[in-house]
Symmetry: C2
Subunit: 363 residues, 2 copies
C-alpha cells in the first residue's frame, strides 16, 4: 500500500518554525516506527499572497483535496492588515475549510499537570481539565449570504448572514455525540435560542439527533451562560457542541483557561474519502505570533500535538499518538520550557529547536 500523504502548509509568522519541528517528528516516526508519510509542502496565507497574489493558490487547493491530511501552521501578520478582505491571509484558511468541507472542528482544552500554575485561574479550578469543543466549521455567519458593505440612504451598512440547514447541524451534532461516546458521554450544546431562530433550529436538531445516542447525556445552554460557566467551573463539561461563530469565541476562551495556548492542537474533519479516511486538516490553536516570529522562541508543542491528532483521527494510529503525547508530557514534567512557559522564577528558556530535540530524545 502507498504511504499515507501529508501536505504541509506552514504559512506565516511562527508557522514555518514550529512546522520544522513537526517535520523532524514525522521523520522520527518513519525511521523508528516504520510509519512513513509522503510529505509535500506549499504556501498559504500571507506567504501565498506574496508569491501568487492570493492567500491560497488553486493548485494548492487541489493538492489539499488530494492528500490524506493537511498540516497547517498559522496565517496572518501586520504586513497584510491593509489588504482587501478577499485576499487577506485568513481567506486562504477559510477556503480550505469550506472547499474540503471540514465541518467538525475538534478543539481539546486540556490542562497539562506540569503547567497548571500557568493558568490565570486557580489551580483547583483547572487542574485535570479535559474538555473537547466541537465547533461547526463550514457554515453559519462565516459563509452565509448575503454579506458585504453597501450604501443605503447615503449611509454605509454592513451585513452578514447566520444561516444553518438542518443537515449542517445534524452532521456536527453526530460528530459531537460520537466523540462523547468515547469520552464521558456528556454533550452540552450552546446557542442563543432565546434570541436567534437559527439557535432554535440548532437546539431542535441536536435534540432530534440525540435520540440516536441514548447513552449520552445532553444539555443545552445559552452561549453567554456558556462563557460564564467555562470561567466559573470548566470541569463540569465533557464535550461542548456549538456553531462556527460561538465556537470561535468559546473555544478560545476555553483554550485560555488552560493557561498554555502554545500547547493546544486542533483537528478539522470532513466526510470520509474513498480510502475511508476523513478529509482532514490539523492546526495549532495559536496564531502566527508575528511579534516573536523568526526568533526561535516559539513553542512547537501545539503544532506537534496537532500531528498527534492526525495520527489518531486520520491514520488510526491511536497508540502512536499516545506515544507522542506521553513524550511531550515527560519533557514538560522534566521541566523543559519554551519562553511562553516560563514562570516568574525565570531561568533560561529552550528554543523552538531545543524543545524539538527534547521531545525527540523522550521518544
Amino acid at each position: 500500500m502507498a504511504n499515507p500523504s501529508l501536505l504541509i502548509l506552514a504559512g506565516d509568522g511562527i508557522g514555518p518554525e514550529v512546522m520544522d519541528e513537526v517535520k523532524r517528528i514525522i521523520g522520527w516516526f518513519g525511521d523508528k516506527r516504520d510509519l512513513t508519510f509522503d510529505v509535500s509542502e506549499d504556501l498559504v496565507g500571507g506567504a501565498a499572497y506574496d508569491a501568487h497574489g492570493v492567500p491560497l493558490h488553486d493548485d494548492t487547493m487541489a493538492k489539499a483535496q488530494d492528500v490524506d491530511a493537511v498540516l497547517l501552521g498559522a496565517v496572518g501578520g501586520p504586513k497584510y492588515d491593509d489588504l482587501d478582505f478577499s485576499v487577506k491571509p485568513e481567506r486562504g484558511l477559510l477556503r480550505l475549510r469550506k472547499e474540503m468541507d471540514l465541518f467538525a472542528n475538534l478543539r481539546p482544552a486540556q490542562c497539562f499537570d506540569a503547567l497548571a500554575d500557568f493558568s490565570s485561574l486557580k489551580k483547583d479550578v483547572v487542574a485535570g481539565l479535559d474538555i473537547m469543543i466541537v465547533r461547526e466549521l463550514t457554515s453559519g455567519v462565516y459563509f452565509g449570504e448575503p454579506r458585504g458593505i453597501h450604501i443605503e440612504d447615503n449611509m454605509r451598512v454592513g451585513i452578514n448572514t447566520q444561516r444553518y440547514t438542518e443537515a449542517e447541524i445534524e452532521r456536527a451534532a453526530r460528530a459531537a455525540f460520537d466523540l462523547a461516546m468515547k469520552r464521558n458521554k456528556k454533550v452540552c450544546s450552546m446557542e442563543k435560542a432565546n434570541v436567534m431562530e437559527s439557535g432554535i433550529l440548532w437546539r431542535d436538531v441536536v435534540t432530534e439527533v440525540h435520540a440516536d445516542y441514548p447513552e449520552v447525556e445532553l444539555s443545552h445552554m445559552y452561549a453567554d451562560n456558556g462563557a460564564m460557566q467555562l470561567v466559573r467551573a470548566p470541569k463540569q463539561f465533557d464535550v461542548i457542541l456549538t456553531d462556527n461563530l460561538f465556537g470561535d469565541i468559546l473555544s478560545d476562551c476555553a483554550a485560555m483557561l488552560t493557561g498554555s495556548l502554545g500547547m493546544l492542537p486542533s483537528a478539522s474533519l470532513g466526510l470520509p474519502m474513498a480510502n475511508g479516511r476523513p478529509k482532514a486538516m490539523y492546526e495549532p490553536v495559536h496564531g502566527s505570533a508575528p511579534d516573536i516570529a523568526g526568533q526561535g522562541k516559539a513553542n512547537p508543542i501545539a503544532c506537534i500535538l496537532s500531528f498527534a491528532m492526525a495520527l489518531r483521527y486520520s491514520f488510526d494510529e491511536g497508540s502512536e499518538a499516545d506515544r507522542l503525547e506521553a513524550a511531550i508530557e515527560k519533557v514538560l514534567a522534566d521541566g523543559a520550557r519554551t519562553a511562553d512557559l516560563m514562570g516568574p522564577e525565570g531561568g533560561t528558556p529552550l528554543s523552538t529547536t531545543q524543545m524539538g530535540d527534547a521531545i525527540l530524545a523522550a521518544l
Copy 2:
C-alpha cells in the same frame, strides 16, 4: 419641579424579591436625602404573559416611554420554556430595549476587594478589576431581518441577519469614548473584522469617530482574542466597545471574572428626552434564578447597584450614587454575605431582606 419618575418592572423569579429591597432604598433617599421619586410598577416577562398573554403589554410599553427611568428585575423561568418564540419572556425585555432605543448598554465588571477570593481566577489577576463594557443594544443579529426558520428543498433552514448601519455604530462608539474620557481614556473595540464585513464597517466607523477623541487611546481586537485576553489579563482593559451579540457573551465572561454575579448592575441608555435625561433602563446582570426564587436567598446588591447607576446616569446624582455604593462596600467589608457569597468556611448567610437591612443601616 415634579419629582422624577421611575417605573419598576420586577419581572420573574427573584426579580420581585430583589426589587423589594430597591424600593426600600428608594424610600430611604426620599426620607433622608430629600430625593423623592414617583414610583409606579408594572409587569414584564412571564408575569406579563400570565396576566395578558404577552411578555409586555402595550400600556406598559407606553408607560416605559413616559418615565425618567425604568428599573427592571429579571425575566424568564422554566414555566415559559415551551412558549412560542414571539411571546417568550425575553421578548418583553428586547421590546423595551428596541422601542426605547436604548443603544448603549453599560456593563461594569468590577471586582469588590472584599470578594476577590470568590473569583475562579487568581486574586492578583482580578483584584482591583474595573472594566466598563459598552455593548450596542438595539441592532445587530438580535434585530436584523430576514430572520426565521423556513423550509428549503424539504429541509429546515434557520436564518438570522447581522446588520449594522454606520449611524448605529457611531452612536455606540461615542458613548464608549465619552465614558473613557471620564475613566482611564482607553477604548478597546472588539469584532471579527477578519471574517465579517459588518466587523470591517464597525472597525472603520469606530476609527473615524476616534478622530473626535484624540486623548483616548483606541485599540482593536478580534472578539475571540478578546475573550482570551479577558481571561488572561483582564486588567489591561478600561472601556471595551462591542456589538450586541459579542457584547452579550464577552460581558458575561467579564462578569464571571469578578466571581460575584450577584453584584453586577447594568445601565441601558438611549437618546436624551425633552427634559435632557436620557431614555434609560437599569437592570442587574444576573437572571431570574428560578432555582432559588421565592426563598429569600437572592442577593439584592446587583439590583441596588443598578439603582445607583440610575442615580448617576439619569439623575445626575453622582455623589448620592457614591454614597449608596460606599454603603454596600462597607457592609461587604464588615462581612455581610448572602448565600451566593458564602465561602467554603460556611456560616449563616443573610436573607435578601437582611442584606437590605444591613445596607439601610450603613446608609
